[in-house]
């Protein structure tokens, strides 16, 4: 077990309600959750691996496969939906050849569908890594992706 992960386990070990923060911090560290890490979390929290896996799969935030270098979160909130978020999914499909939930073969981009990013007055929006891009069209989104990919 590596040092960073071990420190994390020790830090959270005796705190109440530590399961979700541990999963979040582990994913932050690794990019995703693998079986071994979840088993280690089960051990320090005194729960069964099945319980940990049950919690992890319940929440949309957790991934069980590595994601691409860049993550595109396409907002499907109400405002984005009525302002054409479906069109953005189509544009992504033609540009990157992948559907929400998938990662490009070269590992550059992952596309996710999210419920609402809370930037409704700029709808439709997409979050590329930590940055929100608003008032998008299929064409403008393609430009954003090409810029990030270079």
């Amino acid at each position: 077990m590596d040092k960073g992960f071990n420190e994390l386990l020790q830090h959270w070990k005796s705190q109440k309600g530590n399961v979700i923060p541990l999963l979040q911090k582990t994913q932050e560290l690794r990019g995703y959750l693998d079986r071994e890490d979840m088993e280690a979390i089960a051990e320090v929290t005194g729960k069964s691996p099945a319980e940990i896996y049950g919690v992890a799969t319940f929440y949309a935030q957790f991934r069980f496969q590595p994601s691409g270098k860049h993550t595109l979160k396409v907002c499907h909130g109400t405002a984005c939906h009525v302002n054409g978020a479906d069109g953005l999914d189509l544009a992504l499909k033609t540009e990157l050849g992948i559907e929400p939930g998938e990662t490009t073969e070269d590992g550059e981009f992952s596309v996710e569908r999210v419920a609402c990013l809370g930037c409704c007055s700029l709808a439709p929006v997409v979050m590329l890594d930590q940055e929100v891009h608003g008032r998008l069209t299929g064409d403008r989104l393609k430009k954003v992706i090409r810029k990030a990919g270079t």
């Binding site: 109440k16 309600g17 530590n18 399961v19 979700i20 923060p21 999963l23 979040q24 929290t45 049950g54 919690v55 319940f58 929440y59 949309a60 935030q61 957790f62 499907h76 909130g77 109400t78 405002a79 984005c80 939906h81 009525v82 302002n83 069109g87 189509l90 544009a91 499909k93 033609t94 999210v114 419920a115 609402c116 990013l117 809370g118 930037c119 409704c120 007055s121 700029l122 709808a123 929006v125 930590q130 940055e131 929100v132 891009h133 608003g134 069209t137 299929g138 064409d139």
Partner: protein, 598 residues
Amino acid sequence: MTQVLVGLGSCGIASGARAVYDTLQQELSRRKLPFSVSVTGCIGACHREPQIEIRTEDGGRYLYGDLDSEKTLKVVEEHLVGGKPVEEYLIPPDYPYLAKQKKIVLVNSGVINPESIDDYLAADGYAALRKAITEMSPEQVIQEIKTSGLRGRGGAGFPTGLKWSLARANAGAKKYMVCNADEGDPGAFMDRSLLEGDPHTVLEGMAIGAYAIGADEGYIYVRAEYPLAIKRLELAISQAEDRNLLGSHILGSDFSFEIHLKEGAGAFVCGEETALMASIEGKRGMPHVRPPFPAERGLWGAPTNINNVETLGNVAPILRMGASAYAAIGTEKSKGTKVFALAGKIKHGGMIEVPMGITLREVIFGIGGGIQGDKKFKAVQLGGPSGGCIPESLLDVQVDYDSVTATGAIMGSGGMVVMDETTCMVDVARYFLSFTQSESCGKCTFCRMGTKRMLEILERITRGEGKMSDLDQLEQLAVKVKISSLCGLGQTAPNPVLTTLKYFREEYIEHIQNKACPAKHCRALLRFRVIEEACTGCTLCAKVCPTQAAAGERKAVHHIDQALCIKCGLCFEACRFDAIEITTGAVAAEAAATGVEA
């Protein structure tokens, strides 16, 4: 000294406010100008971002909107150096969007620096907390909140003072005060804006509530999708601890209160209070039967009180202004103001705060400026996936808990999404149901499976494969899902379907009987066709078409191969000569099925 404030909320940043901020900093230091630049939250006029405000020594306030780097340089040159405001970029004080609001909760948002506790203190911050713990008993605080008539702003409208008195009445050495900032409704961003713009007001409200119910520990459960809100809350908590406004023996009294931040992990159902508590405890966020209510047995078995962000944002202002002054605002049963996130096909979107009792028409047309592109208003959606769609005939309904509920929608947490003639109401119902269906935790059978069956029916109708009997079936299922679900998610999930069936039934019938989508939204029912007389053969449609359905020789009329067309609409958007026509109805359906262009 003249002050320059840059609005750095999420919406502002997404519109390019960082570039404006950087340009401003660079330009001021390059010219060695002695102005202080500070950061503020969102003033709510998201449609005019990025914004800066210049405050002069003599009390002058100038708000600039729609800025970019170039315009910022001009403002520096002409206003800050030359002393002459740049009229063309100014947002005037009588701008209806701002002038018609009534700010109580958002009074500091976009005005003070949310990262500075001194700014908040200068705006009378923590005075209400000081007053509560030094001059009032917990019972007096609760009585004050009861007198104010404050009701929960998370959606259900439960009286806050009563909730607190229930939590206070339960014996127990250990109690918890929880702030629900798991703003899950798509189309709602009130909590995000308040937390980003004025985090201390929420902390102060929580501390006052904790004092009232007798809690010494609190949690804020905030969505992980709101990184800026989380960062500002963390900062605000540590600042308040440093000043002894949180922590042990607050302001030298016997009252101690500690706040922890919990990041949600993306589950809509965690907005429900029992599910939220399960999530804080580190479990799957599934609701449980009430009773026991959280006030009796909540977090880790201790009495727990849960309030929404906006509710808590009202607490300190009530104590500052006095309960009776607060109760003078609003209607008989709904007091104070309500914050709404105005979005969708509205001309002027953003976050607004209005007195209860205002009509929907005044909000949408008076404040929001009407519909984008002056299209025709069709409906306004209130309350997100738990709410409903209100048609034009009901626009004069007052905004208060009871009047909105009477329409079949709910007040909800404050998402207000405006829809125009290009929005398909069947698709809106399908959209909300696909959301609640995928967010159902699966505990109750009717919520888990009933919503799935309802969704299948709606999908069928939007594909033009519906039957008239589907409408009865939808209504029957809706009632069953409502009465057989444990928590608010399932109990309200059918509302978008029921309200659209009630007010827009003819649109469902069009889809079923005529295979037509009047709003021209449902792709399966559309056909894209080139108007030969208008086509110049510019090849643009062929270039953007992802499936080579649109094709033709340069300078010759193009055609769309119906068998290849996936109806993405890119050609329609791209055409500069209005030469692409969208039709819907029986002819379109037939053409799509046979691949022959009529």
